[in-house]
């Protein structure tokens, strides 16, 4: 069940924002750059939303200190990954280097896995369900 959730979140994050069939006016290189950037931008937004929500739930007493501490461990890892992806995306937008794009793709997969884990662990902690 957990693997399915991870796969589903990965697919959500990996979906293309710009589709070549629907946007033939945009060349492949630019469309690829936009897709990478939009996924990295979305990861930044998700990270901020998740941890602001975790803070609210902690204050509301829905999450314990231990729950938050555990989520923060994954969060710190996620923060590092996203910062790295941000830096590489800036580099990519300037040179469209395929190697850099590949590195960003690898980071996005790890980011999706972390976000899926945080979301699942957050939900389990809030409802008292533990695997």
């Amino acid at each position: 069940m957990r693997k399915f959730r991870v796969l589903f979140f990965a697919l959500c994050l990996a979906g293309c924002a710009v589709q070549r069939t629907q946007a033939p006016q945009i060349n492949a290189q630019t469309a690829f750059a936009l897709n990478l950037e939009s996924q990295v931008t979305q990861a930044n937004a998700d990270y901020k939303t998740l941890f602001t929500d975790i803070g609210n739930a902690h204050r509301a007493g829905t999450l314990t200190d231990a729950d938050v501490a555990s989520l923060n461990v994954i969060g710190s890892h996620l923060q590092t990954l996203i910062q790295e992806a941000n830096g590489l995306t800036k580099t990519y937008s300037a040179n469209y280097d395929a190697g850099v794009a590949s590195q960003i793709g690898g980071l996005l997969a790890k980011i999706a896995a972390d976000i899926a884990q945080i979301t699942a662990q957050n939900a389990q902690a809030k409802t008292g369900v533990h695997q």
Partner: protein, 71 residues
């Protein structure tokens, strides 16, 4: 077979997935309508908005959002 807690967890996950997918689809609609020139500008613009450093999880937890996720 399904406890109340597991159903609540599934509903929570479903809500999160729905939010992610709708946000993603909204973004898709906007980007697909760009011209080549606008798309190239958007590549530069988006790259500039990406921060070099992000707040830590602890710093984010101290912030209060206007519309928190359902508890």
């Amino acid at each position: 077979m399904f406890t109340l807690e597991s159903v609540q967890a599934l509903i929570f996950l479903g809500t999160e997935v729905f939010k992610l997918v709708t946000a993603h689809l909204a973004q898709k609609g906007t980007l697909n309508n760009l011209t080549q020139e606008q798309a190239e500008l958007m590549v530069k613009k988006l790259a500039v908005t990406l921060p070099d450093a992000l707040p830590t999880p602890e710093e984010l937890e101290k912030m209060v959002i206007a519309n928190p996720l359902p508890q």
